[in-house]
């Protein structure tokens, strides 16, 4: 979240789209009810299903799964054509007035630079025009046909309300109603928030769904403002924490881009990441990348990391490809992996296409599962009849189960969706031989190190030299690890403006990432978490309910990364002169000498408004990107592409260009294309989702959760049920090209057939949560149905839109 959970109460209008907050985030949803009760906020829900969120919404509009960009593009067109944008904000804080290169083009669904054989773009033309001064060329009047504003206007002019209806199936009046509600927040005194989750990410265009909404929020001037922002609702308690700590292989902790094969030389890598300002006076904060990176290497390798050896840069793996979950299982499937350590993860249930995952696991020599419970993954080799048909004699994989503590049995920090780190304390003793994940990893590491010590090996240095200065190496304490990721001064850290002034003495915990250095004098395991455990102690353990702003910021409750800032980009809450756009929603303001107020300024504290320092300090140009430059795999403007399994013959926006039917830059592995189904055999759209009674695949082990939602079911509309002769409560079989599930039919009015591109499209709902382990009724893993293809940027599988058939079983 750019903002945070409590801040939702400050919104005037709340849109839930690409998520179902009431269902999946019932506790966070309380802030929606606060906004409704105390601000008279309105709530609209756009979803393929009439969800539990819709049940308490002021307005609901249906949409076909996988058509969100068409809807959001329609909103952008509506805002631009009705002039419902926050002009001063757009002009000052976005790249709307910036000029784009002449060779950037868009032709019938394909942007310039496309290579069809590689299914990827050369993104060179997706860039600004740079003037003789080395800075981006700007047209403040926004009239130049090459400025972002004009290009954007032209791009989205095709997204008419009629086109939205044709692509999404949303009735035009419903679309216009939502667009009108959104547009009403273009004024400085009205702010809208968006709450989204996996309903946007789990598409082959997932990242662009979110980009489209970010553009809308920029146009409305709602980013950086209380009650606004773009708010991802994360999954279980610490999924934000693992993302911050590098869930993905393409980043190091703190979202530091990881080196690839192209980055053999440290200096070149650091220079590439240290983005230089593209406009005068901009902070371009990634210029500090070398400080963060060097401090990370010092944290990992301690004294072994020296200036002479490039702080052990050569020991870092340089990737030849993204190692996302789909790629990992693809390699496993090809027999290229021997072992798999599976921690806090149930891939047989959670990864798309169960058949492929099961085959992959069976090709391993060994599988280690660290989990509090038996999982489908740890049991993948067992025969559970129809739910998991396997001949154990044919599986040679050796499976080790290492019982791990559950969250209530250990101490540590959780980072919530709102970036707030909160310390938690063990509430119960773990049973039997259970160990914490930390202890398990420490045990594996110390044994591995011993082996390397005794036997040498191909490349022992990174293992033998890893800093492991915990008081008891086999059981590092969560406190020690937390202090380590916060970071400390190795030598005295002095003020660059006044070297006699010591900011942090050698050995002290650091208070802020502003004190990190690139000369090896500081160490820090994650620059974003710097300050969480400073000399003042464990700030994550704070529980002060003081709220001086009255806006629910609670600055002394836990620690919010970065720098305990509660709303990101908060400079944008004030106008260019430094006055809050809305005096009732003051966060920070320019007081004549500095930025001050109720939040930690996301701005150099002394940067006077006249200096024109942009609020989006991580960007080299200091502004929000309506045009994403080279940041996205499939184009700088989100464009609608059909899901990989589409019920339509073509993309209605590009009926004559088959290249633009599906995301032209999404990766699909050889062999998986053949596993995609077509509409003639699988005529219905399916989407998977969660239910409030359960948490992923865990709570089917919990009796009370099993009682309130005991057995698997499939949701379908009344018309489809009638056509197929299915009555409510009948058992049905849902099949995709990859597998089937059998479950009870819930025939409901909450799903409605939609007319899309002239044909009737039915959506079949497939709740996840069931499997063959646990105390709930046994069921089929929902991902037996889903395709093995992911988002072009994040590679998140397309769980939310695929094709199935349905029959009475």
């Amino acid at each position: 979240m750019t903002n945070h959970w409590v801040d939702i109460k400050n919104a005037d209008f709340i849109l839930i789209m690409g998520g179902n907050a009431a269902e999946a985030h019932p506790c966070g949803f309380k802030w929606v009810t606060e906004a409704k009760a105390n601000r008279k906020a309105t709530l609209a829900v756009v979803d393929p299903r009439f969800t539990r969120s819709a049940a308490v919404a002021d307005f609901y509009a249906p949409i076909r799964p996988g058509s969100d960009i068409a809807f959001l593009g329609g909103v952008i067109n509506y805002l631009l054509s009705h002039d419902l944008i926050h002009h001063d904000y757009v002009k000052a804080y976005t790249n709307a007035p910036y000029l784009v290169r002449e060779d950037f083009t868009f032709d019938d669904g394909i942007f310039s630079g496309y290579n069809a054989d590689k299914r990827s773009y050369d993104r060179e033309s997706w860039n600004y025009q740079i003037g003789a001064d080395g800075y981006v060329m700007v047209d403040p009047t926004m009239q130049d046909p090459r400025c972002v504003y004009q290009l954007m206007k032209q791009h989205y002019s095709r997204y008419t309300p009629e086109m939205v209806t044709q692509v999404c199936g949303t009735p035009t009046a419903d679309f216009l109603k939502v667009a009108e509600m959104i547009g009403a927040t273009a004024t400085p005194d009205k702010v809208m928030t968006i709450m989204y989750a996996l309903g946007w990410t789990q598409h082959t265009v997932g990242s662009q769904n979110i980009r489209a909404m970010a553009m809308i929020q920029l146009l409305l001037g709602n980013i950086g403002r209380p009650g606004g922002g773009v708010n991802a609702l994360r999954g279980h308690a610490n999924v934000q924490g693992i993302t911050d700590m590098c869930l993905y292989s393409d980043v190091l902790p703190g979202y530091l881009g990881a080196p690839t094969d192209a980055d053999a030389v440290r200096e070149e890598y650091l220079a590439k990441k240290s983005l230089k300002p593209l406009r005068p006076n901009q902070m371009s904060y990634w210029q500090n990348f070398p400080k963060f990176h060097t401090s990370l290497m010092k944290s990992w390798y301690g004294n072994a990391a020296t200036a002479e050896n490039g702080f052990c840069y050569d020991w870092l793996p340089k990737k030849d490809a993204p190692y996302d979950v789909l790629h990992i299982f693809e390699l496993m499937h090809q027999g290229k992996m021997n072992g798999f350590l599976c921690q806090g993860f149930n891939p047989l249930a959670a990864v798309s296409c169960v058949k492929k995952v099961r085959e992959s696991l069976a090709k391993l020599k060994y599988l280690v599962v660290m989990d509090p419970l038996a999982t489908e993954t740890s049991e993948f080799w067992q025969d559970y009849g129809e739910y998991n048909e396997v001949d154990p004699a044919q599986v040679q994989t050796e499976v080790f189960r290492l019982p791990a503590t559950c969250f209530a049995e250990d101490t540590g920090s959780f980072t919530n969706s709102g970036r707030v780190l909160q310390w938690h304390w063990a509430a119960a003793e773990p049973p039997g031989e259970t160990r914490s994940d930390l202890d398990i990893v420490a045990g594996i590491f110390t044994r591995l190190r011993e082996l390397y010590q005794k036997e040498g090996g191909a490349f022992p240095d990174p293992v033998l030299n890893l800093a492991w200065a915990y008081s008891t190496p086999l059981t590092p304490s969560p406190e020690e690890v937390a202090k380590e990721f916060n970071g400390k001064a190795i030598a005295d850290v002095t003020d660059p403006k006044d070297p006699t002034k010591v900011l942090a003495k050698a050995g002290e915990q650091l208070a802020t990432f502003a004190h990190l250095r690139d000369d090896g004098s500081t160490s820090c395991g994650n620059w974003l978490y710097c300050g969480a455990w400073s000399q003042a102690g464990n700030l994550m353990a704070r529980r002060d309910t003081a709220d001086p702003s009255g806006l629910g910021f609670y600055p002394a409750w836990g620690f919010s990364w970065p720098a305990n800032r509660r709303v990101l980009y908060n400079r944008a809450n004030a106008d260019p002169a430094g006055k809050p756009w809305d005096p009732k929603r003051k966060t920070i303001a320019w007081d004549g000498t500095k930025w001050s107020g109720f939040d930690v300024p996301d701005m150099a504290p002394n940067a006077a408004p006249e200096q024109d320092v942009g609020p989006f300090i991580m960007h080299p140009d200091g502004v929000g990107h309506l045009f994403a430059l080279k940041g996205m795999a499939e184009g700088p403007f989100p464009e609608h592409y059909e899901p990989f399994e589409t019920p339509l013959a073509t993309n209605p926006m590009h009926p004559k260009n088959p290249l633009a039917t599906r995301n032209p830059a999404a990766r699909i592995f050889k062999g998986d294309e053949a596993d995609l189904g077509t509409v003639d055999k699988f005529p219905y759209v399916a989407t998977t989702y969660r239910l409030t009674e359960h948490q992923h695949y865990w709570t089917k082990n919990v009796l009370s959760s099993a009682i309130v939602q005991p057995a698997q079911f499939i949701e379908m509309d009344e018309t489809l049920a009638k056509e197929k002769g299915i009555a409510n409560g009948d058992v049905v079989k849902v099949s995709s090209h990859r597998g089937y599930v059998r479950a009870t039919a819930v025939v409901t009015r909450r799903l409605k057939p939609l007319t899309v591109d002239g044909k009737t499209v039915h959506t079949v709902g497939v709740p996840i949560h069931w499997g063959f382990v646990g105390v709930a009724k046994q069921g089929f893993l929902a991902n037996r149905l889903t395709p093995y293809v992911g988002d072009a940027n994040s590679q998140t599988p397309e769980y939310k839109a695929f094709l199935v058939n349905i029959e009475k079983a």
Binding site: T33, K36, K40, F50, R52, L703, V708, P710, R749, R750
Partner: protein, 289 residues
């Protein structure tokens, strides 16, 4: 705080006068259906506080699980898909359970002394140790709430967490509700709270929003805020104008006084017989046995 008083106001099949000395404030639980997301956290909290675990059932084509109230499920969510305005679907989710009537039909019907009590704060509670399993409370309830356990043939239902309320805590369902759809306090405060919610709903276009506190049972200590108070039956057949079953009225209104009269007549007859005939003399030969 008088909210906590467990003074008995009424007791089944009992004529002993109830205590009057201490004041008690009537309590109420207010369920705002317009805020309810149907998450069933209240059901789980109820299970956990009261140590109840129902069977792991099946899906029968609806979200309602368990499918009905049982001796192990004292509250269940009932989901109704309705279109009050043509083309505008509403998913009304009502937390079902004991309404804690001011005039409780269950208590009136109950023939077992002390099996059902009404506290001075309005909570109607079952004391199962006195329950004889006759099921009259089921007949007596206008809301079809009590369930007879197959295990011990006794009647069970929501206690409004009388044990928690007695020590100044809110009921478990109230404590857990993430959206504040369930609130608890004095009935007066709850009515006031409801007024604010109803005004908000009216502004949002629900012209018939209102409070469900049916007069036919003397009002209830569990109340609903309904978006469509003119049509409570939309909410999984919530009765529009609940009354105690005429069978109970017959039992209480005519039959029971008659029976009491019969008992009284018998007693009187015995007394006069004693007065006129004197104590029965014991025969001498019997004494030697």
């Amino acid at each position: 705080m008088a909210l906590q008083s467990l003074d008995i106001k009424a007791r089944s099949a009992t004529t002993t006068p109830t205590p009057q000395a201490r004041g008690a404030i009537p309590v109420a639980k207010l369920i705002d259906i317009s805020k309810c997301i149907g998450c069933k956290a209240c059901q789980v909290a109820c299970m956990q506080w009261n140590d109840l675990r129902d069977e792991v059932g099946d899906n029968v084509g609806v979200y309602d699980n368990p499918a009905d109230l049982t001796a192990q499920s004292w509250t269940v969510m009932r989901f109704s898909e309705v279109e009050v305005e043509q083309g505008r679907l509403e998913w009304l989710i009502r937390k079902d359970g004991c309404m804690h009537c001011a005039d409780p039909g269950c208590l009136k019907a109950c023939p077992a002394p002390g099996a059902i009590v009404q506290y001075a704060n309005g909570i109607v509670d079952f004391h199962e140790e006195h329950c004889i399993g006759c099921g009259y409370c089921v007949t007596g309830c206008p809301f079809d709430i009590p369930r007879i356990s197959k295990k011990d043939s006794k009647a069970y239902k929501c206690t409004l967490c009388s044990d928690r309320v007695a020590v100044g805590l809110e009921p478990a369902c109230v404590k857990t509700c993430p959206t504040g759809a369930i609130v608890f306090g004095s009935k007066e405060d709850m009515i006031h709270h409801a007024e604010g919610r109803i005004a908000d709903l009216k502004e949002r276009g629900y012209a018939n929003a209102g409070l469900y506190d049916p007069a036919g049972v003397g009002g209830t200590h569990v109340m609903y805020v309904l978006q469509h108070a003119d049509q409570p039956q939309l909410y999984a057949d919530l009765p529009k104008d609940p009354h105690i079953s005429p069978l109970v009225a017959l039992w209480k209104g005519v039959t029971k006084p008659l029976m009491s009269l019969g008992i009284g007549v018998a007693v009187l007859a015995g007394f006069f017989h004693y007065v006129t005939a004197g104590p029965k003399e014991v025969e001498e030969e019997n004494e030697t046995d």
